[in-house]
């Protein structure tokens, strides 16, 4: 029930931002379609902690600036490797993840892929490890540092 309310509210805000029509009839119709979409999603069974991870979504702005800075830094690193392809020394490393929820683990893997120079190739839910392909030693070792792991675990708030 709570999930349906949150989902309806989010969808209605999205509708309000995108529509640009603010007359009584259209506002009502917009609300009804938001509610309808949420009910269909609930019936499909996708409105659970995984489909709507509010804990993570609400805390996301806290790490945004840090993440943007990391992305810019590694962008520059990858550009240097592209200009000199011989300097690429790919590595595969297994990163231990301390996240307790599946949504948290996915967020961690996505953050790793989002920073250029590292791509998460395989995620093991049972062992809580992420297999990462790094473009050079430096990128791969950077992933092993607990910095990102801690930030994402902080997002879970558990």
């Amino acid at each position: 029930m709570r999930q349906i309310a949150i989902s309806t509210a989010l969808l209605y805000v999205l509708w309000l931002l995108l529509s640009g029509h603010y007359t009584g009839l259209l506002l009502t119709l917009g609300f009804l379609s938001a509610l309808g979409a949420s009910l269909i999603a609930a019936r499909m069974g996708v409105l659970d902690e995984e489909g709507l991870p509010m804990a993570i979504l609400l805390r996301l702005p806290k790490v945004t600036l840090w993440l943007i800075w990391e992305i810019l830094k590694s962008n520059w690193g990858v550009v240097k490797v592209i200009l000199n392809p011989q300097s690429a020394k790919p590595q595969m490393v297994s990163v231990k993840a301390s996240q307790k929820t599946v949504a948290g683990l996915v967020t961690h893997a996505n953050f790793i892929t989002l920073t250029p120079g590292t791509v998460s190739v395989d995620v093991d839910e049972k062992k809580n490890t992420i297999l990462v392909h790094g473009l050079t030693d430096e990128f791969a070792q950077g992933c092993l540092e607990p910095d990102m792991d801690k930030k994402v675990s902080g997002l879970e708030g558990k």
């Binding site: 550009v79 490797v81 595969m92 998460s120």
Partner: protein, 115 residues
């Protein structure tokens, strides 16, 4: 110099740097070794390239409805980009392709992959 001119200049510079990032990403796609390395090249396009271009457009956007749409585009790109990259990487690994110069302990698949 007024503030709006300054914001315009920041936007233009950001657009130019973003376009450069896209060019470098494409260059990486052509120059790097195997499929795993090439994925790092495309990583530049959908983070640095798309990010800086969107930021530049935000700076020069004429009114708030455009701003809202640009922020939404950025959010959706950040959510879907890594997922798509991971899907490709995982598919490559599952199909038996091993990265160059890396010891993973798995046998290298026969050339040409499985039929």
């Amino acid at each position: 110099m007024s503030v709006s001119v300054l914001i315009d200049i920041i936007g233009m510079v950001s657009l130019c740097v973003g376009s450069l990032a896209v060019i470098f990403g494409a260059l990486g796609l052509l120059r790097l070794g195997d499929v795993y390395q090439r994925m790092h090249g495309t990583g530049i396009v959908d983070t640095g390239g798309a990010g800086l271009i969107l930021f530049g457009l935000l700076m020069v956007s004429p009114d708030w409805t455009v701003t809202v749409r640009l922020i939404l585009i950025g959010f959706i790109l950040v959510m879907t980009g890594p997922t798509a990259t991971h899907a490709i990487a995982r598919a490559v690994r599952v199909s038996g392709e091993e990265p160059d110069n890396v010891k993973t302990g798995r046998k290298k698949a026969a050339k040409g992959g499985r039929k």
